[in-house]
Amino acid sequence: MDDIVVQVLIMLVQVVVLVLAISTGFAYLTLFERRLLARMQNRVGPNRAGPGGFLQPAADAVKLFFKEDVIPTLVDRGVYLLAPALAVIPALLIWAVIPFGCLNIAGDYQACFADPATNPNLHNIFQLADIDIGVLYLLAITSIGVYGITLAGWASNSKYAMLGGIRASAQLISYELALSSAVLAAVMMAGTLSTHEVIYQQMTMWFVIPQLLGFVLFLISGTAELVRAPFDLVEAEQELTSGYNAEYGSMKFALFFMSEYIKMIAISAIAVTLYLGGWNAPGLELLGSLMTGMAGPLVGSIAVGLASFLVFLVKVVLILFLFVWMRASWPRVRYDKLMYMGWKWLLPLALLNVAMTAVFVVVLPDALIHSVALFVASLVVMAVAYVVSSRVKPAPSRSRIKMVQPEVPRRPSS
């Protein structure tokens, strides 16, 4: 009885700390993005509030809190009010299964690096729930977020918001397939859906090497899933003012903003977990044994926990840097091209990757050999895709308006 109470209490503390940490992470991601973007555009960026702009997120939050909370007259009131929550809650839920470190409070760092199947003595407080279907859960929860966006667009009763919402749902549903297929191949490599076990399987080699194609596909479709540049058609300012959140203001807008950025961190964390070895880095185990030898098993496991969290953070920030970098560099894709790419390139390539992985894993049982084979195959497939895509003519316009060549009168030849 007491044991259960203690466990529930620990769980509650974990949840509260996690949600607060993610909200802070979101706040500082906005600052990170704004400053980085500014530097890439030869500007300084927000640096007035606090040293180096450190308090800018707080200033933004205060400003948004004190904005007047307007509900337009003609909106569908219930759905309108519910939509921001529907957007932000799944974004927070994603984090339940992501291991962002490994701190075994049982006081034995070795459990982090041991085979989870034979060593159940792991109580990692840096992961909320290590469920057997972790990756499936991730895919399911990331997809639910589209409801918030669609309903926001629909309930706003405005054509801009409506078009933004429709675009968003079409885009998310299209890229969901490529994303899941890319993830599927990584899961096949690991042979498990548990996120902790996926990381354990990458102790010898990160999946980014055998799953190079999958990683690239994951990044592309992940960017589309986040509706970020260059796939941010949903908020194409020129055509749609700001898309599905055009009718939202004050904290309700902030919630949409928050869900987008939390999802951005989450997709980065998923990429790190599935492809870049998660919280693990070479040398962590050595650190654990050194600290255990010097100061006992508890200190050892805490040291490993903090170091692994740091490693995870560095990897996530690298991926976030990539997202911001892409936003600074590339223009927006045209809408039909986006659909064209999603259905005609990413999905077939992802399916090919799944087939390839399945065949190689079964035919070549040795992990190292099939990893190298898959790496080579990935490179070949990408090269072929590049050559083919640069030769394919663009799809013919289906517009009914025919472009007519003006007739140039010919000069009679003498």
């Binding site: 980085l36 500014a38 530097r39 890439m40 555009q41 030869n42 500007r43 300084v44 640096n47 970098w325 892409m326 600074a328 560099s329 590339w330 590049y386 895509s389 640069s390």
Partner: protein, 166 residues
């Protein structure tokens, strides 16, 4: 196509390591040009007397009708300015002023000069009217001698040319 994408990434990355072109304004103030036309100043002669003789030519020249001059007779014992009259009231509405510098051109004694101060902002319209106290330079910052034509009080004197060469 991928080459172009990489080129874009490369460009932004290169720019990231360049110093920003931003001038951080309230901290760093770039010097203005010599002939920059900023806020007006009412000048003085070297002996501390005001240059303005209350002729209202600046007011007449002003295309925006921003200047108000109310002249008054000088007290002969303690003259405010050389000559017969001085400006009892001198006001410029900075919301109307277009900083064209015509007042400067019109002034026969070079009393009004557009200087380099450009931070002109107000919380209400009343404070946008700059009075004589605000425009006048301190008494110890005068320059130049009084031209003789302004000291020939009461004599029969020729009418002054439009611009006295001071």
């Amino acid at each position: 196509m991928f080459g172009e994408l990489l080129k874009g990434l490369q460009t932004t990355l290169r720019y990231m390591f360049r110093p920003p072109v931003t001038v951080q304004y309230p901290d760093v103030k770039r010097p203005v040009r010599e002939r920059f036309r900023g806020r007006h100043e009412l000048k003085r002669f070297a002996n501390g007397q005001e240059r303005c003789i209350g002729c209202s030519l600046c007011s007449a020249a002003c295309p925006a009708d921003a200047i108000l001059v109310v002249p008054a007779e000088n007290n002969l014992e303690q003259p405010t300015s050389p000559g017969e009259r001085y400006a009892a009231t001198y006001e410029i509405n900075m919301l109307r002023c277009i900083f064209c510098g015509y007042c400067e051109d019109a002034c026969p004694t070079n009393a009004i000069v557009l200087e380099h101060q450009y931070e002109l902002s107000f919380y209400d319209r009343q404070t946008s009217i700059y009075t004589k106290d605000m425009l006048l330079v301190p008494p110890d910052q005068g320059h130049g001698e009084i031209p003789p034509i302004l000291t020939q009080l009461g004599d029969k004197r020729p009418s002054p040319p439009a611009q006295i060469d001071l």
